[in-house]
């Protein structure tokens, strides 16, 4: 690697899995809708509303176009968290029967309860002898925006299976298949790309297994959209969550793809009050943000392949530079099946937060969080089984559209310097060099 002669502008932002800056082209597209094109897209009686509605529908086409969907399959939301909740909770409520309702139906079947007094959606179950659908499947490395709604449903009486992963972070397709019960499982949710370790799950193979067993397949594509190819025409994906701010669009906007054909997916809405978005998500549409999301999708569709290759080269430059200067550095998660702009490294014998602080001109994030009670490794790294020491020493590098070679070279030099300094004061590193430390009894 040649050393850079150009000093980068500081600070350097390498946290693109947390959020991305708004692309100037996205901002330009949004501005008119923050100014004179301020109409409500639901106002059908005047041109202000028509202009806003046209803009929303154009954005819907842009979002749909990026994933090969039809416009009627796109539901705008406040972000991927809401999209995940709508997909998971909405499907569970539409297709499933939790334990306490199963008891009611069983009582009606036995004649102990008057079936006509049951809620309408339970009455059809009284005459059916089949097994209730009440089961959800997901993975331990999912974002909390998937794990938490499933945990909430479990508390309501649904059943769930949270699958583990090996150290690579890649879900085993056969283990996934075994977890799917064709009679009971409502939905399986597996993220396309992990937000911490960037690992790309084999969603095409997973979706095929779900489809074969009549189980809905949802993927949180917040991190993957615009970085890898996602086409719902060829991939067996029934529900797909989208985030605006991970894609150089604005915060506070996202979308959910809901398949309309083969199979047609039904969801029970979570937000009521106006029937917007085909009744699936009521509330006045945030037209400027939706316009921004649409423009971000259009740009990503054009630039994805070239930008992916550029980011992969930068990531390889970063890893090669770090490995050339530092020992005891480990990659967390599979290196090959990974987002091109993600690298998650553990710098052994250095604590992640201390390193982040020492890298004062570089914005990155660590794999552990501290509370007054304890220091908690991220649930993703813990799920990989890499051990707490390695998790506490981890740093996530998220490269993005603005990242340059000069920045990467600066970061490599800064890492080499700061890691060396922190190791020099690390008792573990000292013990490695000089012999074991006699620790006080805790």
């Amino acid at each position: 690697m040649s050393s850079s002669l150009v000093a980068p502008r500081l600070p350097i932002y390498l946290d693109h899995q947390a959020t991305t800056p708004i692309d100037p082209r996205v901002r330009a597209a949004m501005l008119p809708y923050l100014e004179d094109r301020f109409g409500n897209a639901a106002s059908t009686s005047h041109r202000f509303g028509w202009i806003a509605e046209e803009a929303v529908e154009k954005a819907r086409e842009q979002v749909a176009g990026l994933i090969g969907a039809s416009t009627s399959e796109i539901v705008f939301t406040s972000g991927a968290t809401e999209a995940n909740n709508l997909a998971i909770v909405g499907a569970a409520r539409a297709y499933g029967v939790p334990a306490h309702e199963q008891a009611l139906v069983e009582a009606a079947r036995a004649g102990a309860v008057d079936a006509s007094r049951l809620p309408e959606r339970l009455r059809e179950w009284v005459s059916e002898a089949g097994v209730f659908r009440d089961h959800l499947v997901t993975v331990s490395t999912e974002h909390k925006a998937v794990l938490d709604p499933i945990a909430a449903l479990t508390a309501e009486g649904y059943a769930s299976t949270v699958l583990g992963v090996p150290e690579s972070g890649l879900l085993d397709v056969e283990a996934f298949d075994r977890a799917l019960d064709p009679q009971r499982t409502i939905l399986a949710s597996v993220m396309a790309a992990n937000n911490e370790i960037g690992v790309l799950q084999p969603i095409e193979a997973l979706g095929a297994r779900a489809r074969a067993k009549g189980v809905l397949f949802h993927t949180d594509a917040s991190q993957a959209l615009g970085k890898i190819d996602l086409d719902v025409r060829t991939m067996p994906i029934d529900l797909l969550s989208i985030s605006g701010h991970k894609l150089y669009g604005p915060k506070g906007v996202g979308a959910l793809y809901v398949r309309r054909k083969a199979p047609r997916v039904s969801l029970v809405p979570l937000v009521h009050g106006g029937g917007h978005e085909r009744g699936l998500r009521s509330g006045t549409l945030d037209v400027p943000a939706i316009v921004g999301l649409g423009e971000a999708c259009a740009i990503a569709g054009v630039e994805r392949v070239a930008e992916g290759a550029r980011l992969r080269a930068l990531r390889e430059r970063l890893l090669a530079g770090v490995r050339a200067r530092l020992s005891h550095v480990e990659v967390n998660g599979d290196l090959e099946r990974r987002l091109p702009g993600n690298l998650n490294l553990s710098f052994r014998y250095v604590e992640g937060e201390a390193l982040i602080h020492a890298l004062k001109d570089v914005a990155v994030s660590s794999g552990s969080a501290c509370t007054s009670a304890l220091r908690e490794p991220s649930h993703v790294l813990r799920a990989l089984g890499v051990g707490d020491d390695r998790a506490h020493a981890s740093i996530r590098f998220g490269l993005g559209r603005g990242t340059t070679e000069e920045e990467i070279d600066f970061v490599v030099e800064a890492l080499a310097d700061r890691v060396t300094k922190l190791r020099a004061i690390s008792p573990e590193w000292d013990a490695l060099q000089r012999g074991p430390v006699r620790w006080e009894a805790p």
Binding site: C370, S426, P427, W439
Partner: protein, 138 residues
């Protein structure tokens, strides 16, 4: 997770004053380490006190968040020039106040004080009959 740190914590993390080693063969050498497993934090403290009247030198090693490093540094600095008995009286509250340690990082001050106390206990064990009669070395 990183955070906005107090100026005092930030400054000690940048300069790392009092980090390092003391020659273990020096008369009056003592050392101890303390660990907080829940917070994955460790501090090792070395000191050199030719007599109980005055700690001439103190050095630390630390693994942990920036507050752990800063507290270890402050405690080492506070020990230097103090008598052994006075150093034993350093309290976590004083560390917290001096460095403006955040409430959720008070464990760092407590760990640093524990490391200092353990080092002093080691010194007292080694030199109960006077420094000349005691044993230095790791």
């Amino acid at each position: 997770m990183s955070r906005r740190l107090s100026e005092a914590v930030r400054a000690r993390n940048e300069a790392l004053p009092w980090a390092g080693h003391i020659d273990a063969a020096a008369p009056g050498f003592a050392a101890a380490a303390a660990v907080d497993e829940a917070h994955a934090a460790r501090i090792r403290l070395q000191l050199r006190a030719p007599s109980s009247e005055r700690i001439e030198e103190a050095r630390f090693l630390a693994f942990g968040c920036p507050s752990v490093i800063a507290c270890a540094s402050w405690v080492a600095e506070r020990a230097v020039g103090a008598g052994v008995a006075a150093a034993r009286d350093v309290r976590a509250e004083a560390v917290v106040e001096a460095l403006q340690v955040e409430p959720d990082r008070i464990y760092a001050a407590e760990l640093a004080v524990r490391a200092l106390g353990a080092a002093i206990a080691d010194w007292e064990g080694r030199y109960a009959n006077g420094v000349d009669a005691g044993r230095s070395g790791e």
